[in-house]
Amino acid sequence: MSELGESSPERRKLLTILSVGLGCVGAALVGLPVVGFLLAPLFERVASKWRGVGTADSFRKGETVEVKFEDASSVSWAGVTDQTAAWLRCEPDGQFVAFAINCTHLGCPVRWLQEADLFMCPCHGGVYYKDGTVAAGPPPRPLTKYPVRVRDGQVEILTMPTPIA
């Protein structure tokens, strides 16, 4: 090997360390921005927004209806997927409660059964009472609630992330 150069074993060791180390630096230079880009959604803070869902007098007392509104983080190419639904309940005293449609078991959309006064999940049969508390089945928690307010006669719901356990 000596005819290839005057490298001593020490020099070869140094060159190895140098090359491997430099390679790691190069990989990090490319890799870090890539990893950061992929993980960006974890660090992005999306401010919640109040979204109007209808005038307060358009909801009948004691009824629960589906309302639709736009997510907080909306990009133009999201199409219909930037929409979210909620179950809006107008209590007999005129107060509003908004429930996430996601079952707290595994997130499937619960349906409101008007006659039975119950929410029922099609996936694994979770059932909730009209106030969102668990009536039966696998759900571990009551339905998640959205903050609701009435402003200038408009019922507004504060967007929030998809409820995750």
């Binding site: 993980l39 959604p41 974890l42 992005e44 999306v46 589906e66 639709k68 997510d71 907080a72 983080s73 909306s74 990009v75 133009s76 190419w77 999201a78 199409g79 219909v80 997927t81 930037d82 929409q83 979210t84 639904a85 449609i101 996601n102 078991h105 595994l106 997130g107 499937c108 959309p109 619960v110 349906r111 059964l113 006659e115 039975a116 006064d117 119950l118 029922m120 999940c121 099609p122 996936c123 694994h124 049969g125 059932v127 009472y129 009536a135 039966a136 089945g137 696998p138 571990p140 929030m160 992330p161 998809t162 995750i164 356990a165």
Partner: protein, 473 residues
């Protein structure tokens, strides 16, 4: 022809291609391996179908949350051969999962994961995991209603992981909610990330097959001893080995082409799965469920005792995966012959029956309320009084029938109530309705007293005798 030959010689002289590929193709294989050894190569063939059809589909598919659904409608219903290609991609995926499963079972049954092929098995298990990920991400790319809700259900499951769960869920959705960022990320996973890993793992898997040779047929009188196995195997190959190409490979070719033909036929005959409703998260009428190869897991999630979900959702795949990964490390020596491995047979039978039973349950999904249950007909109700007939109406209106069937009409989540009065008194029925149960809501605050008594009167008329009377008329 002579020109072609000359061109090849010129190329070969400069690349040594034949010197490199030739010995690999003709590496000695054990004799009489037979048709049991064709499933690995067939899995590879189906993967290649996926690569080729996937690339073709990617030329027309738009990975945008707002447009994917429409581009798939176009591929399915307008594009020339689009329907066939989507079908091939779907049935190719199904075939890949199926063949991978069979290949794995064969490897397990012949004890081929034992020394020195432990790492082949470990890499194979990783390929299984990656294939399942491909199946799942692929199902999402259909980006219909089922795709959107599957994403949410997946995020919910990921959210159950301790500590990092919510981060994981957010990573999956590409944000706080399913939206514009979600689909393009899954598209990148499905067509770049995971396939790149699969290619690398397949390369390693094949290199290991070449390195350690194809496992010979098990023989009860020759348990694996890591000290002597290698030299014995080499000597056996010298003595009676056959060149892999074409002595063994012809079977792989025959079966591989058969698999391709099956995929193309199924795609042509049945076509791809029809897209469900558009990916609008506000359409409440959704009933998400996974494709057939994960339907058994869907059943697992439904059958768990309440409160254990988190442990099972996170723990079960982890434990099962670890068991598969360490299997060859723990049992790397000894008998390979099935006649001497009763526990191997027993565990395989248990796993296959469990998955099979869960799968059938998943198809029936009796735990799902039947929202389509129609009100009972007068012939079934056979009302002797106005109260009973009112009770029958309430039985449907109050949602009872979504979970309880009477005379075959209704859900299967709760007990069948066709003859409930034969086993419960009216008091017991009343108590149960008011209090509810493990899987039943309490109706105490929902029913008015008159409604309750009508419902009880109706249920109290559900006897075998009345049933017989009802059907006679």
């Amino acid at each position: 022809m002579r020109l072609l030959r000359k061109a090849w010689d010129w190329f070969d002289a400069r690349t040594d291609a034949s010197k490199v590929i030739g010995p690999i193709m003709r590496h000695p294989a054990p004799p009489r391996t037979g048709w049991m050894y064709v499933f690995g190569s067939a899995t590879l063939v189906t993967f290649l179908i996926q690569v080729v059809t996937g690339i073709a589909l990617a030329t027309a598919y738009i990975s945008s949350a707002g447009q994917a659904y429409e581009s798939l409608q176009w591929i399915t219903h307008k594009a020339l051969l689009g329907n066939l290609l989507r079908g091939m991609h779907y049935f190719g995926a199904s075939a890949m999962v199926l063949l991978l499963g069979i290949h794995m079972i064969r490897t397990f049954l012949t004890g081929s994961y034992k020394f020195p092929r432990e790492l082949n098995w470990v890499v194979g298990v990783m390929l299984l995991g990656l294939t399942i990920l491909m199946g799942f991400t692929g199902q999402l790319l259909r980006w219909d209603q089922n795709g959107v809700w599957s994403t949410i259900v997946a995020a919910e499951q990921a959210g159950r992981v301790p500590l990092i769960g919510p981060w994981l869920a957010r990573f999956l959705m590409g944000g706080q909610t399913v939206g514009g960022a979600t689909l393009s990320r899954f598209f990148a996973y499905h067509v770049f990330f995971i396939p790149a890993l699969i290619f690398a793992m397949i390369g390693l898997h094949l290199a290991l097959v070449l390195r350690h040779g194809i496992s010979e047929k098990p023989c009860a009188s020759r348990p694996v001893d890591p000290k002597t196995y290698r030299s014995w195997y080499e000597a056996m190959l010298k003595r009676e080995g056959v060149p892999f190409w074409p002595d063994a490979a012809w079977r792989d070719v025959v079966f591989g082409v058969f698999a391709v033909a099956c995929v193309v036929f199924l795609a042509w005959h049945f076509g791809p799965p029809e897209l469900t409703k558009p990916p609008d998260p506000t359409i409440i009428q959704a009933d998400p469920r996974p494709d057939w190869y994960l339907l058994w897991y869907f059943a697992v999630l439904a059958q768990l005792p309440h409160g254990t979900e988190t442990y099972v959702i996170v723990g079960a795949p982890l434990v099962f995966g670890i068991c598969l990964l360490i299997l060859p490390l723990v049992f790397n020596r000894g008998q390979r012959a099935l006649s001497r491995r009763p526990w191997a047979i027993a565990s395989l039978v248990i796993i296959i029956t469990s998955i099979g039973a869960l799968w059938i349950e998943g198809l029936r999904s009796p735990w799902s309320p039947d929202f389509n249950a129609k009100p009972l007909t007068p012939g079934v109700v056979h009302a002797a009084s106005a109260e009973i007939s009112q009770g029958a109406e309430l039985f449907h209106a109050k949602g009872c029938q979504f979970c309880h069937a009477i005379a075959g009409s209704g859900g299967q989540r709760g007990p069948d109530l066709t003859t409930v009065a034969d086993r419960l008194t009216d008091q017991q029925i009343t108590l149960r309705i008011l209090n509810g149960g493990y899987n039943m809501p309490s109706f105490a605050s929902i029913l008015k007293p008159a409604e309750l008594s009508a419902l009880v009167a109706f249920l109290n008329s559900r006897t075998l005798a009345a049933q017989a009377g009802g059907t006679e008329k």
